[in-house]
């Protein structure tokens, strides 16, 4: 391992993903029959396939929740509270008589929305900042010092502190978690940009007189996409868990809007006697986070070697 590629503490991302150098590049891939089509894809990338499939299922559930035999998730019926799962209430009812099945399905919307939004926003903003920082020396030191500072605050604490400034709502949760995740993305992008700038073909393009925006668009940007995508998946997983934790301690989405986090938070008091209220959202959340993590792993295995080779 050469010193140039040693990761510094600032570079590791959620999911333990450290870009390029520290990940293994297998010299020889196990031989797989080169099948075309979907089956071939699944064969070659089992983790990505499983993760993708599970995630698509969850998305389907979230989008089509009203059509999946659900009722109004906020409809109170205290006379029918804490009923065990049965034919009428598939996941039982909670302490206010609301149908847990409906709440869990609708809760998928919030959790997925938070996960995807945070991943998307953090990536876009981090990309922009990283580009600027990597390309413009003058801005680099200031921006990176700033990001270092922000990164030194543990992300959950930062999210919690930001939530304390405002009231609980889905938008605020998204904003709070996004802010906590931006620094890492920007460092990643900056790292890629810095290493790319030294590449011969970039220097050649500069010598040929290509304008900077063209260089960024043509050469730099495409090469950042792979690591950003991989790490976006990890951010998505982390964001969903962070949302659950925020809701658990009462600083997340308001209880009026069901999310897996606050369904579990409300059910925690009855955990020993009516475990299903916590159990079902926990399972859904775990499966979704697992799916996203697997997807990320699969993407990384698929994209990284290619990315590393193309440099």
């Amino acid at each position: 391992m050469s010193t140039a590629t040693l990761p510094s503490p600032a570079d590791a991302l959620p999911g333990g993903y450290i870009p390029a150098a520290a990940e293994p590049m297998p010299d020889v891939l196990p031989p797989v029959k080169a099948r075309k089509g979907l089956l071939g894809f699944v064969r070659r990338n089992p983790t990505m396939a499983i993760g993708g499939f599970l995630l698509l299922t969850m998305i389907f559930i979230a989008v089509f929740a009203p059509l999946l035999w659900t009722t109004d998730p906020t409809a109170l019926a205290p006379a029918r509270r804490t009923r065990e799962p049965s034919a009428m209430y598939w996941f039982g009812t909670d302490m206010l008589g609301r149908d847990v099945y409906s709440r869990v399905l609708y809760g998928a919307r919030v959790s997925l929305l938070v996960g995807f939004s945070v991943a998307f926003l953090a990536s876009i903003i981090g990309l922009t900042i990283g580009m600027i920082s990597g390309y413009i020396r003058a801005a680099d030191t200031i921006i990176m010092r700033f990001m270092d500072g922000l990164m030194s605050i543990p992300p959950i604490l930062l999210a919690i502190a930001l939530m304390a400034l405002t009231r609980g709502s889905v938008q605020n949760v998204i904003i709070a978690i996004t802010i906590a995740e931006i620094p890492r993305v920007s460092r990643l992008v900056r790292g890629v940009v810095l290493s790319l700038r030294e590449q011969p073909y970039v220097e050649a393009a500069v010598a040929a007189g290509t304008r900077t925006p063209m260089i960024i668009l043509r050469h730099i940007l495409p090469n950042t996409l792979a690591p950003i995508t991989v790490q976006a998946t990890y951010i998505c997983a982390a964001a969903m868990i962070t949302e659950a934790i925020l809701s658990f301690i009462g600083a997340g989405t308001p209880p009026i809007i069901p999310s897996w986090g606050n369904i579990m938070a409300e059910g925690r008091a009855l955990w020993q006697v009516k475990p299903y209220i916590v159990f079902f959202p926990a399972i859904f959340l775990s499966i979704t986070v697992l799916a996203v993590n697997l997807l990320g792993d699969g993407l990384r295995d698929a994209l990284d070697p290619r990315m590393a080779r193309s440099l």
Partner: protein, 533 residues
Amino acid sequence: MNRRTLLQAGAGFGASLLLPPLAAPALSQGAAARTLRFVPQANLANFDPIWGTQYVVRNAAILVWDTLYGFDDTLTPRRQMVESEETSSDGLTWTFRLRPGLKWHDGTPVRAQDCVASLARWSSRDSMGLMLKAIQKELVAVDDRTFRWVLSKPYPKMLMALGKNSTPMAFMMPERIARTDPFQQINEYVGSGPMRFVRNEWVPGAKAVFERFADYQPRQEPGNWLAGGKRMLVDRIEWTIMPDPATASAALQNGEVDWWENPITDLVPQLRRNRNVRVDIADPLGNIGAFRMNYLTAPFNNLKARQAVMAALNQEDYMRALVGDDNNLWKKLGGFFTPGTPLYTEQGGDVLRRGPQMDLAKRLLAESGYKGEPVPCIVAQDQPITKAQGDVTADLLKRIGFNVDFVATDWGTVGQRRAMKNPVGQGGWSMFHTWHAGADTINPAVYIAIRGNGERAWFGWPDVPPVESAIAEWFDAPNLEAEKTAIGKLNAAAVENVLYVPTGFFLTYQAWRANVSGIVKGPFPVPWGVSKA
């Protein structure tokens, strides 16, 4: 295999690994039996029982501070710190003489001057105290053990005022502490009660510790709730704050705590099944659930808006949300007073008892001219009672057509925010939830929440003159019949004007380990006479 054998096995193994001599656990078996570990209903964030009216503060305060009089279990005031009292023939002069041998926790003797200063501070915050202050001509110490209160009008309920258990109780504090401004918190916790507050072990939000005050002189009579001799049979009481009921339940079953003030109803069946745990109704006088609307801000400054809410009310929803399926634990309430007591009435309270009338509610809302302004409801999430009520109310208001702004916070913040009279956009509020112990809703004297005197009333500041005149009538009533008439009028007026909305009457449980004895039923936990085997 259980924890003990594992511990012993580990200990032996560890010792053999040349670990340095390990400190033995601080509590040996004997000492453990003299420590009572209690889980209170909420966090003890501050500890000034005159400044803060929350129940949890009062429940801790009765350990540390004593009162001149105390209610017994029939809610009759009896002498506690006072040895004798005298009223002049015209009823205008009260002279009180203290018991000998009373000491503060710092060793100094209790003097009449201390009581005078304490009463001055208390009467600036308490509703009955304010009444006394308004007619006070002189409150002065005559000598070290006697003081005198001279009034301009007779006040027959003086002893009730001094001994009542509704907050703020008339606790006696040393003069230097009692001189603190009544609108600021004290920061020295010295009293003359049977326990001392161990300040350096207080971790706000986690733990509060009390130790037996060796020089406390209990009265000779047997203890009877807040009256009689307060004999402590344990040396130390540890309050462990557990915001998670599941953790508290597990801790009680495991023997890690001894007494749980407020087990939630859903966990009670499981506790009952445990051989080492006893569960019983905490107080037959029960509780009245409540939510209060803000008379000073829109929309609830409009009578029709308030009446809309009351028309749509379904007490069954609230009570089921609070106590679950057990029908023995709740009752519909047609009024504002404690069921099963002489003054209970349902006069004028039909709208409360009959089912929800959504159409009427929507019509009333439209008539009130509501234009969709946000309605901030502050709901404490860490109190199961307020949280359950808050969820039901939010749903109710939405269905009527209000634009609900659900503010989820904690009980401490509710205490602060409900005191603010600002308009809604600037930190004000429209509605908050609470509950009242049945002992506090027995009659208008102890019932701060029933007053309708506008800006000087309890939070929400209801302005209902007919209620005030009914209260005055009650105070002047010569006999029970007249009292009942007055209360009937009060009830009807309170319902008509929606002073606040009672959501129903419910009972709560308390739970303790089987090896703890001496626990009695009452509006709040009373630790004297309680011992551990």
